[in-house]
Amino acid sequence: MKLQRNLFLASFILPALALYFLFALYPLGKGIYLSLFDWSGGSETYNFVGLDNFKALLRDGVILKSIRNDYILIIGKVLGFMVLSIIFAIGLTRFRIKGSGFYRAIFFIPNVLSVVVVGVLWRYIYNPNIGFLNSFISLFTEKEFNFPWLGDQWSIFALLPPSIWAGVGYTVILLVAGILNIPDSLYESADIEGASQWRQFWSISLPLMWEQVKTSVLWIVMTTLNGAFVIVTIMTFEGGTDNATQVLGSYLYFNAFKYGKFSYAAAIGVLILVLSLLTTVVLQRLMKRETVELS
């Protein structure tokens, strides 16, 4: 009986766990291991070089630029996502506007599209000659306006609108759920005491949806460090002019699979890991608030 139970447990746990170890955890560990060696693919020999790859990272100007770009995306996205989704979430709940379910459904549409699709679409919007944006601006200017949005030294900022457009539906749903979870009675008694909507937002809605705000911010950080690669390579191919839009993910990819510098690329991977852990810890500290007890 006991044996039967254990066999059953093993047969249910092990297939998934074995695959998961081999194809998810082992590569992560091996990535850290590789970063300490000088290894150029295929070969059997690994030369231990200690922290040399990391010292090289520090001297590499593109790394600094990539970190800067990753954080421009993170900060820009956090601000954009949060401002928009807090406004939308309040509008879709506290304002009691008709068709709130309809708006929620619509707002989520870009989230179901592939980032590749989003990138191709926005690359056309930014097209200098025949694109949507410049054609629109040209309506108001005497000369034809043809600013190369994706070929400029500050093009990283041009990647913010597509990222926000594509993702904000998700955080709207999170925050709406947070607000709907707040008992109506709190708002009712606030109404009786004559607290303005603005006041109610600051002292009821925001503190009580803080958990969802935190979740959203951490989600943005993780998806940016992990996923900015896609929007960057689709919209600006190899990282724009003079690495203007290079991010760590794309720089890792090019180092490994274009230049064959696998262990250097692995060191970039470790850097991504360290930055994501650091950022998460710091943000969790910063966003720590007294948990509000529902009485």
Partner: protein
């Protein structure tokens, strides 16, 4: 219910919501129309002008046949289907055991899966590539199916553990009294009861895999084995030298069409599932 929002702000909010809805819907509708234009219309007319008659339906034919999107479509459908089925099944088995059985290492097992969501996948892509290469699983849809299955497991475990925990204990007990084995109990009783949870995990997994780009780019080089996102990216890169706007947007529709249809059918499960996860924490 009395609402004491200043009417001015109420109107501003309504306008804002309508404007954003437009911003979301217009690019989708625009793509549908742009896929029916020829190059000349892109060069000479305004981007927002309607396609001229006759509509260039040939653009679809062109990407479907000449650009081989017919095979990319089949690749994407097969890979998405198999990965989702395997991923959800393995996640359900693991989640069931974690949720319903007390054994040593139970909590640890759960943490091991959860931690994946906090780790950057980029750290692992180089070893993953060589690992699959050693097994001759690069340029092989099976390799991609394995990777997608594995990446689907942590999320599935996370959602389904919560789900299995809510099912009443008596069900298993009475099944055991009837002499049903653990396997029969799981496949005949628990799995059907968990259907709503399985469905919402499967839906989200389908969307993720259909749209996935990084692993597909990493593991597939052979142009006949592309998935749709990779094919679109390659096509767009070629457009730097030879512009074919209409076909490019037709290819976007081939990617968007199925997911939008899917979203229309399952919208409640998708947004409802996210909302439920949001308040459970």
């Amino acid at each position: 219910m009395q609402v004491n929002v200043n009417p001015f702000w109420r109107w501003m909010m309504k306008i804002f919501l309508v404007v954003w809805s437009f911003c979301v819907l217009y690019p989708v509708v625009w793509t549908l129309l742009a896929a029916l234009k020829n190059n000349q219309q892109f060069m000479l007319n305004k981007p927002w002008s309607f396609p001229e008659l006759p509509l260039i339906w040939e653009n679809y034919l062109y990407v479907w046949d000449k650009y081989q999107f017919s095979s990319y479509f089949i690749n994407s459908v097969l890979i998405t289907t198999f990965s989702t089925v395997f991923g959800v099944l393995l996640a359900a088995m693991t989640a069931y055991v974690i949720a319903r059985f007390a054994f040593r290492g139970n909590g640890l097992l759960y943490m091991i899966y959860l931690s994946y969501m906090m780790l950057p996948i980029f750290l692992g892509i180089i070893p993953l590539f060589f690992l699959l290469n050693d097994f001759s699983l690069t340029n092989n849809p099976i390799g991609l199916i394995i990777v997608y299955t594995v990446t689907a497991i942590p999320f599935g475990v996370f959602v389904l553990v919560g789900f299995f925990k809510t099912l009443p204990k008596e069900l298993e007990e009475s099944a055991a009294i009837d002499g049903a084995s653990h396997y029969v109990t799981f496949f005949r009783i628990m799995l059907p009861l968990a259907k709503p949870g399985l469905v919402s995990v499967a839906i989200i997994t389908v969307l993720n895999i259909w749209n996935e780009y990084i692993f597909a780019l990493l593991l597939i080089n052979d142009p006949t084995k592309y998935t749709i996102p990779v094919a679109i990216a390659v096509m767009q890169a070629e457009m730097q030298y030879r512009t074919e706007w209409g076909p490019l947007f037709a290819s976007l529709i081939i990617s968007m069409g199925p997911v939008l249809l899917f979203y229309m059918i399952f919208q409640r499960q998708i947004t409802g599932g996210i909302a439920a996860g949001a308040v459970k924490g």
